[in-house]
Symmetry: C2
Subunit: 380 residues, 2 copies
Amino acid sequence: MSEPSPKPFAFHLDHTDGAARTGRIETPRGVIRTPAFMPVGTAATVKAMMPESVAATGADILLGNTYHLMLRPTAERIAALGGLHRFMNWKGPILTDSGGFQVMSLAGLRKLDEQGVTFKSHIDGSKHHLSPERSMEIQRLLGSDIVMCFDECPALPADRDRIAESMQLSMRWAKRSKEAFGERPGHALFGIQQGGLEEDLRAESAEALQEIGFDGYAVGGLAVGEGQEAMFGCLDHVPGQLPVDKPRYLMGVGKPDDIVGAVKRGIDMMDCVLPSRSGRTGQAWTRRGQVNIKNARHADDPRPLDADCTCPACANYSRAYLHHVFRSNEMISGMLLTWHNLHYFQELMQGMRDAISSNTFNAFEREFHAMREEGDIPPL
Amino acid sequence: MSEPSPKPFAFHLDHTDGAARTGRIETPRGVIRTPAFMPVGTAATVKAMMPESVAATGADILLGNTYHLMLRPTAERIAALGGLHRFMNWKGPILTDSGGFQVMSLAGLRKLDEQGVTFKSHIDGSKHHLSPERSMEIQRLLGSDIVMCFDECPALPADRDRIAESMQLSMRWAKRSKEAFGERPGHALFGIQQGGLEEDLRAESAEALQEIGFDGYAVGGLAVGEGQEAMFGCLDHVPGQLPVDKPRYLMGVGKPDDIVGAVKRGIDMMDCVLPSRSGRTGQAWTRRGQVNIKNARHADDPRPLDADCTCPACANYSRAYLHHVFRSNEMISGMLLTWHNLHYFQELMQGMRDAISSNTFNAFEREFHAMREEGDIPPL
């Protein structure tokens, strides 16, 4: 295993602008500039991208999925091959989720009890078990730099009792996760706050996590169907319940306007499959909103997707080309649009980091919404 | 249109070793080192590759398919967008086929007469027409650097009368192609020899083409199911029927051992979808023969596909990773294996060019076959 030298994991808060924050997470594998967007490399690849290209978009850190990797090729195999970084040729830090969320959304025939969860693989139906202890073991085998506690995330809407019970179970699992994680210099363990949209349950969860003590705090259980208004309502109070001096990670978010709203409310890290998934279905995200490259209006359009974007898709190709290769079902369609989308998301993060540093976040946010309201350039 | 400055098209024969030749084709868009292997960019993309990556493998020239491009996005559209080079972001020379071969192999409901061929698109069933004149027009609209005559290629086996008739039709079409092509400084027109496996028909065809006069001569109608022995038998006499001072292009070839055997017999240029198509189905071509990355023997193998290969797939990934991403149906599987295969094919060409230059082609060929006979490295 190519373990990095055990330097401490540290978060430096450099500047705030209202509730928005910018800073740096230092890890032995490199610095993560916050607010940070983490592209998702589910099965040891960010779909349609070479890892060098992901780095070129400005990504400092990737997310890997414990659930997928434990099933195929297995954590033990990845460990024997030198860890996830070497396996997938990504030199920067990697955050792994705990597997809990995907077990709930993907696996078949789940059985959940105090100990953990037993489930059937969505790939081949084989039986597997996850618990706080097993999740910590898998994430250690993968060589993850930022490890997530094993939690349960109930789908919303759910009644208050169900949310409270689930949150309390997740807090007991957080304690077991911390114990199983042990002392691993240079590696971080993040707790995950639960509590649905209930402010008091969120506060109870935040308190329980801080009592255990983590290197960072994630906001779990959002972006699960509650809608942006409810999510922002929750984010109006949640970051304030979490420590100022630790990174705050909003899991599974999101669309560009979700991201801007979350950063405005004090979130430091996010992840989402959206830019890569959209890229494979002909959807581009630009400063002017979404562009559906399938649309016939692009067939003869010699202009780039976004004339001000410096990504390869915009620098070297016309909308007409992007339309043609999408229609022709060519792989370069997903390759170019994913690259563009990841580039745009990272550029958005850089814009916010700059704006927070210069106390101009509100102006940045106004400009962001104004550009989107203008919409795509008119057809020729 | 970004037409290059009209410098002449020229072939320089630098060295021969037996019948094998090495040289340079000079075009306004760059030099093509021969023997040359041309990757195929059927629908304005070499599948699974960025054009910069294709260039990085050492390819000097791409092939584009007239049949596919005339149907989608259409030659007129590509012309309006500045030509095929700009459309697909390829700065080097492009050779386009005439469309004739694909009409025979892909289109539905063909009707062939002296004038040309009418057919239905395999994409949407729409009706189209190709003739020598229309093929020249399409290839001019695409901005092709090396234009191919419109010909008919009968499937083998076929009886001698059918082959003779077809060849004579192709020769009449070659004359019409030349007339329709006209004078286009900096652009080349290649004739296509036909005649099946009949030495005298091949000679008659070669003579007819030279009477018309072309910038290069292709060997058509091979690699259509006759087998390597029959193809080599034909290539034992065919190149000698063609002018010494013009490039000789064997269309649609082939596997590495086909390529080596063709170069040995005096062929200068080849093209084939094999490296990219194989790459998308988990097949890698190496100096030690074929490797099927799907095979379970690779699942735990930390070694690269080929330890001596410098392509990204070999430099940065284990066989275990390549196996995993193939099994997981991840796009990076096709991206990496296609890159490797194209890199290997170009390395093979460079090896042959070097060997011919130093009069060591026979030794090169022996070593090539010896390495393949050794086979893949043993499992761990």
